[in-house]
């Protein structure tokens, strides 16, 4: 069977789903193919923290822009998405981290993001379960939480309402030069192809600088009121930046159901998706150091997932090398839920040749990437 469309997207995670919706809005004929089912990869494993980050100017621009796009959607989001404007508190354990809180606050404030610096007492009042004393924290009230697979399903539903077709359970064996071959013999012809396969993207497009970075998450039973904001240790970036060794960081999220998600861990070079007791135990110990009461809760499930990581911590959004039909929308590492909507806008601007709201240059796959980071 041969099918002809304007755009073929591979990967029905939140990024592929957002792209499908955005391009369908532009009246393009869109097909989306996934080897298993929507949100089966990193989207289904993710925490779903819509967060503004300032690891780099480009990361700030993308996360901030995308957060405003989420805000625009707010009124329409169905309850299943469990949108919760809980805010983030970056927790500073010592004076050094508090200095970083002040820097971060100034950076955000200059760029129009609301923040509030919490001193030791204000932090205790905001989150009584945190161990005392801690140096302080930075409240970012505009950050929020969603349930990622439901968000992806919603984007796909909206895309489908505009004519996009979803082909789940279909493996793509070849992608490029305006066509995609499926395992079942179907051939899609498309003016534009988008590889949105997350950490699996290099399988279809060899040579792209994306590596899996494994993470563990725990979800607890329901404990109303125990944690009110998404809590992340200020030292998080130190750990997220560690590229040679496995790392853990305190990162706890309250769900609308009053369950708590406990993270986080980061590992390169682990191919299997099994839960690893050693790193899980390190991750939980880190969380217990910040919120001692967590150690008395019932965890009901533990799982792992793979973030699509790039050498310079920025996603790959745009055309890939000499194939004028092939676009990449991957490499979002731990920020794919946040940046899915902005990614879709940038891809759409590139395909339709319109001017995007933010510069697309920092995310173009043709950029120079610091190569030593993947050593």
């Amino acid at each position: 069977m041969t099918v002809s469309v304007d755009v073929l997207i591979v990967g029905a995670g939140i990024v592929g789903a957002a792209c499908a919706w955005e391009l369908a809005k532009a009246r393009l004929r869109v097909a989306i193919v996934d080897q298993s089912f929507p949100a089966a990869g990193a989207t289904g494993a993710a925490m779903g923290h819509i967060v503004v980050m300032d690891d780099s100017q480009a990361q700030f621009a993308l996360t901030r822009y995308s957060q405003t796009l989420w805000e625009e959607l707010l009124e329409d989001l169905p309850a299943s998405i469990e949108f919760d404007l809980c805010g983030t508190i970056w927790v500073a354990a010592d004076e050094e981290e508090l200095a970083e809180v002040r820097r971060k606050a100034a950076y955000y404030r200059e760029r129009g993001v609301r923040t509030e610096i919490l001193d030791s007492r204000a932090l205790q009042e905001a989150e009584p379960s945190l161990r005392a004393p801690l140096a302080g924290g930075l409240l970012v009230p505009g950050d929020s939480v969603v349930y990622p697979p439901a968000a992806a399903a919603y984007f796909l539903e909206r895309a489908a309402a505009l004519g996009a077709t979803l082909h789940a359970g279909k493996s793509v064996t070849k992608l490029g030069e305006g066509s995609a071959c499926l395992e079942d013999g179907t051939i899609f012809h498309a003016g534009k192809l988008i590889n949105a396969c997350g950490q699996l993207a290099p399988k279809l497009t060899p040579g792209i600088p994306v590596k899996p970075r494994k993470g563990h998450l725990v979800i607890t039973d329901r404990y109303p009121g125990m944690v009110r904001h998404q809590l992340v240790e200020m030292g998080y970036l130190k750990s997220a930046h560690s590229v040679t060794s496995d790392s853990v960081a305190f990162n706890v999220q309250p769900r609308k159901t009053a369950q708590l998600l406990i993270g986080s861990s980061r590992q390169y070079d682990v191919a299997h998706d099994k839960v690893e007791p050693e790193i899980l135990s390190r991750m939980l110990k880190r969380a217990f150091e910040y919120v001692p009461k967590l150690s008395t809760l019932s965890g009901i499930r533990v799982w792992t997932g793979f973030r699509p990581a790039t050498p310079d911590k920025l996603p790959l959004i745009g055309p890939w090398l000499e194939d004028p039909t092939l676009y990449l929308a991957t490499g979002h590492e731990g920020l794919g839920i946040t940046t899915s909507l902005a990614t879709a806008r940038l891809i759409s601007a590139q395909i339709l040749d319109t001017v995007p709201a933010i510069s697309m240059d920092p995310y173009l796959p043709s950029r120079n990437m610091a190569a030593e980071i993947h050593a």
């Binding site: 039973d221 329901r222 404990y223 159901t257 008395t296 809760l297 019932s298």
Partner: protein, 81 residues
């Protein structure tokens, strides 16, 4: 050895035979153990610690399986609606 034991379920005294589980006291007193995420009442189903439907708060520790814990004098049990 006393033949009965008194516990408190949502501050109400309930007396059950020694050896009765917390689930028994809760069912006598409240008829329900907890409320599901979607708001449905839940009660002991398997009675052997597997289904987790009978969770209650005991002495300020939440989510304990009432079918696996025997009543002890003065236990404070809380069932949330």
């Amino acid at each position: 050895m006393p033949e009965s034991v008194t516990v408190f379920v949502n501050d109400r005294a309930v007396t059950v035979p020694v050896g009765a589980t917390v689930a028994v006291a809760v069912m006598i007193s409240e008829g329900v153990c907890r409320t599901s995420v979607s708001g449905e009442p839940r009660a002991p189903l398997c009675g052997m610690g597997t289904c987790f439907e009978c969770r209650v708060e005991i002495n300020e520790v939440s989510h304990l399986r009432s079918c696996q814990i025997l009543c002890e004098p003065q236990m404070k049990i809380r069932v949330r609606g």
